[in-house]
């Protein structure tokens, strides 16, 4: 078959028209599948530019206080207890000063700080390393600053665990459904309003996005208010009038490993206000 230039251009033009037209007709049909449906955040949802937390260590008096926060979080989110440090899943956990703030410890440090447990959780960094390395964008930064994890997309490569400098991520080496060696369920009390996780995904603290969406503060913050008001304070770091900003403006706070440039959003108030007073300086 031979074709002159004129015929060729005609044919090309017609097929382009049909192609473009067909796609737009197809799209139109798809749109019509569900008319007038829309997704919104809901009226009660709490909003922020960068959610942040201030943890006032002076307000944690006993190991019981940490445990209450941890237990509340872990039971709300169906975090299993494998009673084996290798398989451990943790969203919020205690750690010594030396391990929480490496490089800051020194041999003259007061015993209390040295031995105290610090409450650690995902820092929801402004510049999160885990998000940069995730090959499937399963972990991503939400508009409100929460570093969120999409379990449907996670392929379990654990790059994020290697990238996170804070050890905030745990891998599900085992299924959390079922029972341990003593016949106890791995999830002590199942919260039927929250999903569990399947084997082979990475999980961590989500700043309780499911609670923020209905106008509630994260579970650990809510629980901490019961034993000591202000032990955990939650708010918007971008809002100069928020409670977290007020504390950060008036007290000396430290963050974990700020030198790595991930800009953690969890701040620690270490000593309360009882500084040792040196009389000559007064």
């Amino acid at each position: 078959m031979s074709m002159n230039r004129r015929e060729f251009i005609k044919l090309a033009g017609i097929s382009t028209l049909v192609g473009v037209g067909g796609v737009s007709v197809f799209n139109k049909l798809q749109q019509n599948a569900l008319e007038a449906s829309e997704f919104t955040a809901g009226t009660e949802a709490l909003n922020a530019k960068q959610w942040a937390m201030v943890i006032d260590m002076s307000k944690f008096k006993t190991p019981e206080d940490y445990k209450r926060c941890m237990d509340a979080c872990h039971s709300t989110h169906n975090v299993p207890d494998f009673s084996n440090p290798k398989d451990e899943i943790k969203w919020i956990w205690p750690e010594t000063f030396e391990h929480a703030f490496p490089g800051q410890e020194h041999k003259y440090m007061n015993e209390e700080t040295k031995e105290k447990s610090f409450l650690l959780l995902c820092n929801h960094c402004a510049n999160p390393a885990c998000v940069r390395v995730c090959p499937t964008k399963a972990t991503f930064k939400r508009k409100d600053g929460v570093v969120m994890q999409d379990m449907h997309r996670c392929i379990g490569c654990r790059f994020c665990m290697a990238a996170c400098p804070f050890g905030a991520r745990s891998f599900n080496y085992r299924s959390s459904r079922g029972k341990d060696a003593n016949g106890q369920p791995l999830i002590k009390e199942e919260n039927t309003a929250y999903p569990t996780r399947m084997i082979g995904v990475v999980e961590k603290c989500t700043f309780c996005t499911e609670r923020l969406a209905v106008g509630k503060l994260p579970k650990c913050v809510e629980v901490s208010d019961e034993f000591s008001k202000g032990a955990l304070v939650f708010g918007d770091l971008a809002d100069a009038n928020s409670e977290v900003r007020k504390i950060i403006n008036t007290k000396y706070t430290i963050r974990r490993k700020p030198e790595l440039g991930t800009e953690p959003s969890v701040f620690y108030v270490i000593g309360g206000n009882d500084y040792a007073i040196v009389p000559e300086l007064l």
Partner: protein
């Protein structure tokens, strides 16, 4: 053709085996799954509210797409409220909203999925409502 007898007999046996499922099932009607949509939770609802988030026909063919859209909206965009085509709001949650009414996973989800031989992985993570004994 060499060995034509063996080859042709072999071919006939091969075709007979491969097509066995087809002619074996000719004329037999498999019972279509009948979904139960009369859970106690649905019965308790007032007559006017006994409606799914979208019309039945749409849900039958498009529930997987709807659930996919819900999941993306909730997990990735943080939008949890769905306004349906009748302007009514729903909390987008399989575990807390769909299953609140359809509390019979076995007779509602599984029946059809087993019939169609599809295995969605919803329940690897999401907690199914406790099955009630009839």
């Amino acid at each position: 053709m060499y060995d034509s007898g063996k080859i042709i007999v072999g071919l006939i046996i091969f075709i007979a085996l491969v097509t066995f499922p087809f002619y074996n099932n000719i004329g037999k009607v498999n019972a279509k799954p009948e979904l139960k949509i009369d859970t106690p939770e649905i019965q308790k609802l007032p007559e006017l509210e006994r409606k799914c988030v979208e019309p039945k026909d749409f849900m039958r063919g498009g529930h997987m797409q709807l659930l996919n859209d819900w999941r993306d909206s909730v997990v990735r965009n943080g939008n949890r409220v769905y306004k349906n085509s009748a302007n009514k709001d729903f909390n987008m949650s399989l575990q807390n909203e769909c299953m609140r009414c359809h509390s019979n996973k076995k007779d509602f989800c599984d029946k059809c999925h087993n019939y169609m031989a599809v295995k969605p992985y919803c329940w690897d993570c999401h907690i199914a409502p406790k099955e009630k004994k009839p």
